[in-house]
Amino acid sequence: MPQEDARVTKSNLPRLELHIPEPPSRPDTEVSFAHVNRGEAGAVRRPDIAEHESNMRDLPYELIRVLDDDDRAVGPWDPKLAPETLIKGLRAMVLTRAFDDRLFRAHRQGKTSFYMKSTGEEAISAAQSMALDKGDMFFPTYRAMAWLHARNYPLTTLCNQIFSNAEDPLAGKQLPILHSAREYDFYSISGNLGVRFVHAVGWAMASAYKNDTKISLAYVGDGTTAEGDFHEAMTFAAAYRAPTILCVTNNQYAISSFAGFAAPERLPFAAKALAYGFPGIKVDGNDFLAVWGATQWAAERARTNNGPTLIEFYTYRAEGHSTSDDPSAYRPKDEAKHWPLGDPVERLKDHLIALGAWDEERHAALEAELKEKVKIAVKEAEAIGTLGQSKPPIEEMFEDVFAEKDWRLKEQLRELKRRRAGDSAAGEGA
């Protein structure tokens, strides 16, 4: 089109360029975390819970940390927990890791169709599970299983769900690890990202409406903040001052896409709260004590009608997205080792050792004990059956579509049973 070319070349305007964000490193480049500003442990102030939001607008740009490089707990966000509490937290994290390792292998052995680890992020849901009260409702993502491990959810039951066997608490209806555990204040997980962030706000509004004392807690990952539901939840939380703690677990990656697609690299996700008019804080997600201290602060705000808080947990997804993902295809293989905030399990362990409440021998014994515990649970679940080897009764498939089955479901169940009866008769004949 010579005519159009002529029109463009005549123009004196600069040519536009489309910007596509790129991560700091790729499989063929050096690892670079130069953009991560750790700040100083203990350096960030802890405002009064009733402080007006307008006086806290500097907070999202600082990183709240409690554990310093000498493994000591420092600063105003230190929740000052007893060593026994810290050991309980450590136990939940080590258990989560042992469970993840064992069940990831179970997938490789064909015992389940799918699995997702939370390696590197165990401190977040472990500390929050312990810091919140029974009755507060957690709206988790699929990378928050330390909540259940911290509350001693039966391991065999977890395995039964992952194997979709006859004892699966969700009766074979749901993908592995999309658990639901009402008794443990753990809301039903779904595959759709972000939607439950809004449910948490509605749940908190309901609690306030009933003059209850319970609060809600919800996660989205960094990638999911781009969903409209994030905006909807933030808008509702702000308008009705819902007693909720909304959290972004920023592990730097959404499958293969780095966090720069959801927010510009220099802008903390926590700062998004400022636009909605409630406080946002950015917290070292690999620091068990900082997670606990920040959660306690946000919970006190919520419980005293001071409204919602957004917490960004700054962390790193140390392993692949799922069993279907190979991260070495899009980021350096050894990137996790270079993460400037280290490993949450190691850091809590080192802190306990510095306190004189723990040692390497006890830690090795704990790892061995929990590994064995997981092994026994997996064996128990395997005895019931792994994927395809054992199933809940077929009637279950038709239950809970509605509170009561309508005529369609009754007819379809009859039809399926007839076919199954026919199949087995034919099988016997052959």
Partner: protein, 343 residues
């Protein structure tokens, strides 16, 4: 003797909300403009003043937020009755309705559920153009786990809304806004009547609590030659079309799309041997396709003519061509005659 009052559909719906809010403090009402102002169609008028700011309140302009938060409230144990201002604007909440409200009970194996009643005005015949006229029932009928309810008169509107609020499943409650003030027979040149002066018994509405059960159709007119299946505004259009055709037709108002009263439908078609389906929504992939398939499967040996579907054309709802698009009594009468005169 139950005390009754002449009510239009707006008053009947308002009365249903008032009765339920009075009985159960877990029932709360919210949505865009529903609080202080009382709703753009006045359905929630006076509820905030009577029951309090926290029982009936305004919401930010976000349909996904309205339905998403209602699901959270329901999971806590409340009985929220959110409003979506027009059914045309329910789509931003479609993910919440389909992926969450409809599936929550199933995927949690009964641990959590979302008994939310979503009220939303739907349907055309009001010069609403593309985004104030749509009839989206088919996109909800296809979603397992949702119930879809559509009243056609004030009595049913109140009874069905009360039943929906009391139902343990999520309900999409579609209100034919064309019928809010009076019946409409699909003849735009005819003088309009209000419900009060319509002469119809269905405008006599009990002032207290009563239910019209979900899943039960109503027999509007008994007949022997052909069965006409309709719901919402089209029930009245069907009456006009049947009169025009001069045929002894049986008219069934489905009232709920899901659960569907399959027994009422099959019994009628087996008796008449003919079936004409009427809806405002566009034809292809419309709920009429499902009705036609069910009738064909269950009444094959009784059918004496092909099943006819009269529906909106397969296009966005047009503005200037409203009465060409709207499936009025003339088109229905033609279909009825075609069915009766077949062979």
């Amino acid at each position: 003797m139950t005390e009754t009052k002449r009510m239009n559909m707006i008053q009947a719906l308002n009365s249903a909300l008032d009765v339920k809010m009075g009985q159960d403090e877990d029932v709360l009402v919210f949505g865009e403009d529903v609080g202080y102002f009382g709703g753009v169609f006045r359905v929630t008028e006076g509820l905030q003043a009577k029951h309090g700011l926290k029982r009936c309140f305004d919401a930010p302009l976000t349909e996904g937020g309205i339905i998403g938060s209602a699901i959270g409230m329901a999971a806590y144990g409340l009985k929220p009755v959110p409003e979506i201002q027009f059914a045309d604007y329910i789509l931003p909440a479609y993910d919440q309705l389909v992926s969450e409200a409809a599936r929550l009970r199933y995927r949690s194996n009964g641990e959590f559920s979302a008994p939310v009643t979503v009220r939303t005005p739907y349907g055309g015949g009001i010069f609403g153009g593309q985004t104030h006229s749509q009839s989206p029932e088919a996109i909800f009928a296809h979603v397992t786990g949702l119930k879809t309810v559509i009243p056609s008169n004030p009595y049913d509107a109140k009874g069905l809304l009360i039943a929906s609020i009391e139902c343990e499943d999520p309900v999409i409650f579609l209100e034919p806004k064309r019928l809010y003030n009076g019946p409409f027979y699909g003849r735009p040149d005819e003088e309009l009547k209000t419900w009060a002066n319509s002469g119809l018994a269905t405008a006599d509405v009990p002032v207290g609590h009563y239910e019209v059960p979900l899943g039960r159709a109503s027999l509007v007119r008994e007949g022997s030659e052909v069965t006409v299946l309709a719901y919402g505004t089209m029930v009245h259009v069907a009456e006009a079309g049947i009169a025009d055709a001069g045929v002894d037709a049986e008219l069934i108002d489905l009232r709920s799309i899901v659960p569907l009263d399959i027994d009422a439908i099959t019994a009628s078609v087996r008796k008449t041997g003919r079936c004409v389906i009427l809806h405002e929504a566009s034809r292809f992939g419309g709920f009429g396709g499902e009705l036609s398939a069910l009738v064909q499967e269950r009444c094959f040996d009784y059918l004496r003519a092909p099943i006819e579907r009269v529906a909106g054309y397969d296009m966005p709802y047009p503005h200037a061509f409203e009465w060409d698009y709207f499936p009025g009594p003339i088109r229905l009468a033609e279909a009825i005659k075609a069915a009766v005169e077949y062979r």
